[in-house]
Amino acid sequence: MTPEASTVVLSTAAPVFKRVYVWELPVRVYHWLNALCVLVLTVTGILIAHPPALASATEASFSYWFGVNRFIHFAAAYVFFFNFAFRIYWGFVGNQFSDWRNFLPLRRAQFRQVWSVLQVDVLQAKNRPIEAIGHNALASFTYFAMFLVFLFQVVSGFAMYASMSKAWFPQLFAWAVPLFGGDFSLRQWHYLAMWFFIVFTIVHVYLVFYHDYVEGHGVMSSMVGGWKFVHPEMLKGNGRSWFPLSPRPPRNPAKPPPH
């Protein structure tokens, strides 16, 4: 499908958008599975911290809801961890938009864009286009910080879990308990980090609305279908890639966009 074909009825002055396949299916699956895990872990986590008085004047043998709640928390933690590990793996084999090098602003162009996004989108002091098809450099760096919190939650959570499990996997993290001076303070930090997820989600969802509303690149639907709509000139600049593309061949090079 050529740009002419799709915009034939519009004025020639209209910006010609081009479809770009940004988020591959594994990235989208990771995103939504992760969102589900974070939701489940947050809700069950709050319930663990503040169990509501659902019942009283009953025998303990008739009920196990708090145990079930904790089980869901621990099970979701496993899914969360392996999903997270998969995403790191995909940073090495996925396309340029999911490449791990996006997440660290080590190149000058990336660093400049962090500053640029701060001025244009956060402070709104300036107005100029940000050349970013995938995440912009500031967003990527924020995700890197988020990955560190992911890591902390995994380590602290499984470290606390290690004392109630004989499985080898949680034991890998048992060293974190003495490091934090005991289960109690580790639990405290684990709980505080949960609030990071809540605050992150507020900002994340707001910014998706913001970018969709202001730029109209279809960022919101891109995490469902994978496609974004960008100006062709953006494909030439840094928006295409921060780093020399690796020599690996593109996936399905001849694949036409679906109709």
């Binding site: 009825v9 519009l10 004025s11 020639t12 002055a13 209209a14 910006p15 911290a49 169990p51 008085a53 659902l54 019942a55 009283s56 004047a57 009953t58 303990a60 043998s61 008739f62 009920s63 196990y64 809801w65 708090f66 145990g67 709640n69 956060v122 709104q124 107005n127 004392s163 109630m164 048992a174 060293w175 308990v177 003495p178 001076g181 005991g182 289960d183 109690f184 303070s185 639990r187 405290q188 709980y191 505080l192 949960m194 609030w195 809540i198 605050v199 507020i202 900002v203 707001y206 609305f209 913001y210 509303y213 202001v214 730029e215």
Partner: protein, 387 residues
């Protein structure tokens, strides 16, 4: 495992001989050995090891030092439920030097300690109660004109192993709580190169203390320790894991306030701030005062006295401690809610700002008018109406 040299002193009666001389029957002796083996988690053949050790071994030289502490560890120890514990460990095993229980004083006491340290060099056990103050050259705890640090380092040098009794010696306890004016420091931070056994608790359970001593006596080696240096036989499980109220926790049945109907039912004290889920100790199994009770059984939550820094994790009556640096009663929840509310307010303000500052880019752009597109094909009327 650290294999220690045999702590035998040549000559003199064995421990069993000394106990028998005090009128303890063979039956009571075997009962004691069985009991200790059970506490230590030994298999049944281990009973014979304990019996044999106490029959053949002689008194173990011990130097027991007291620094910044309240002596509740000693008090707990001498109130151990079985009389043989006090007999063999205090009268017979020896305690060549201990400020609380010895008859000697002043020069005599100091000389006694030094004689033990000299004669039994490399053989004696050093047992320490209390933390060591490091601030102001250790001026806050001096005995015989010397600082606690000097004394403990000298005593540790010739010791076979060090037993740190209680939270003070293991983690500093109350005097190390913020702001820790004397810089109270646990033993494992001032002594290096010696095996150190941390017997945690404020105080430790008497039977746990006795069990550790019997283990050292029987097997001549350091018991298996966890990552914090505590004997796994007594500190590998949380109070929560062995709590008789645990079923109420899993069922979500909690005491909502002291004295309420749920408290009368004996529900779980989790919401009353019980530290059982984060505290490693044997209170749920061995219990206190001859196994009569323990805090949770008496209707009060665990305060986590066998965990480092438990004084700073207050208030004791809420599960979520106040957060450091945010005032006394501020919890992670209050901080989180405040940050979350600020974030929502910030996002709302940013949304308003966006509509002002970027109104040229928002919505329909030049040349994007939908009216230029051909009218949509008839679509709605195609669907047959359902009856």
């Amino acid at each position: 495992m650290n294999v220690l040299e045999s702590p035998t002193r040549t000559g003199g009666p064995t421990i069993w001989e000394e106990i028998r001389a005090r009128g303890v029957s063979r039956r009571d002796f075997i009962k004691f050995c069985t009991w200790m083996s059970a506490y230590l988690g030994l298999e049944s053949s281990g009973v014979a090891d304990v019996v044999k050790a106490l029959e053949t071994k002689r008194r173990m030289p011990v130097v027991w030092l007291h620094f910044q502490e309240c002596t509740c560890c000693s008090e707990s120890f001498i109130r151990s439920s079985h009389p043989i514990v006090a007999d063999i460990l205090l009268d017979k095993v020896s305690l060549d030097y201990t400020e609380t229980l010895q008859a000697a004083a002043g020069f005599q006491a100091e000389e006694c300690m030094h004689r033990t340290m000299k004669e039994s060099r490399g053989e004696y056990l050093l047992m320490v109660e209390g933390s060591v103050p490091m601030a102001d050259d250790g001026a806050y705890c001096c005995i015989g004109g010397r600082s606690a640090l000097e004394i403990v380092q000298e005593a540790a040098e010739g010791a076979k192993a060090v037993v740190a009794w209680g939270n003070c010696a293991c983690a500093g306890c109350v005097q190390a709580a913020k702001p820790n004016p004397t810089q109270a420091t646990p033993i494992h931070k001032v002594i290096t190169g010696k095996p150190i056994i941390n017997v945690q608790g404020c105080p430790p359970i008497a039977e746990v203390m006795a069990g550790v001593v019997v283990y050292l006596l029987t097997f001549d080696r350091i018991p298996q320790l966890d990552a914090l240096g505590r004997p796994e036989a007594f500190y590998s499980r949380r109070v929560h894991d062995t709590c008789y109220r645990r079923p109420y926790y899993d069922a979500g049945l909690f005491v909502e306030s002291f004295g309420d109907e749920n408290a009368r039912h004996g529900y779980c004290l989790y919401k009353m701030g019980c530290r059982g889920p984060t505290t490693y100790n044997s209170c749920g199994i061995i219990r206190w005062n001859n196994g009569v009770s323990y805090p949770i059984q008496s209707g009060h939550g665990c305060i986590g006295c066998s965990e480092a820094g438990f004084w700073d994790n207050g208030p004791f009556y809420q599960r979520l401690a106040s957060f450091p640096g945010f005032g006394i009663e501020t919890t992670a929840d209050q901080i989180g809610l405040a940050v979350g509310a600020a974030t929502i307010a910030g996002a709302a303000a940013h949304a308003v700002l966006t509509n002002v500052r970027k109104h040229h880019e928002i919505g329909e752009q030049p040349g994007e008018s939908a009216s230029l597109a051909p009218p949509p094909a008839v679509a709605e009327s195609d669907e047959p109406t359902k009856e």
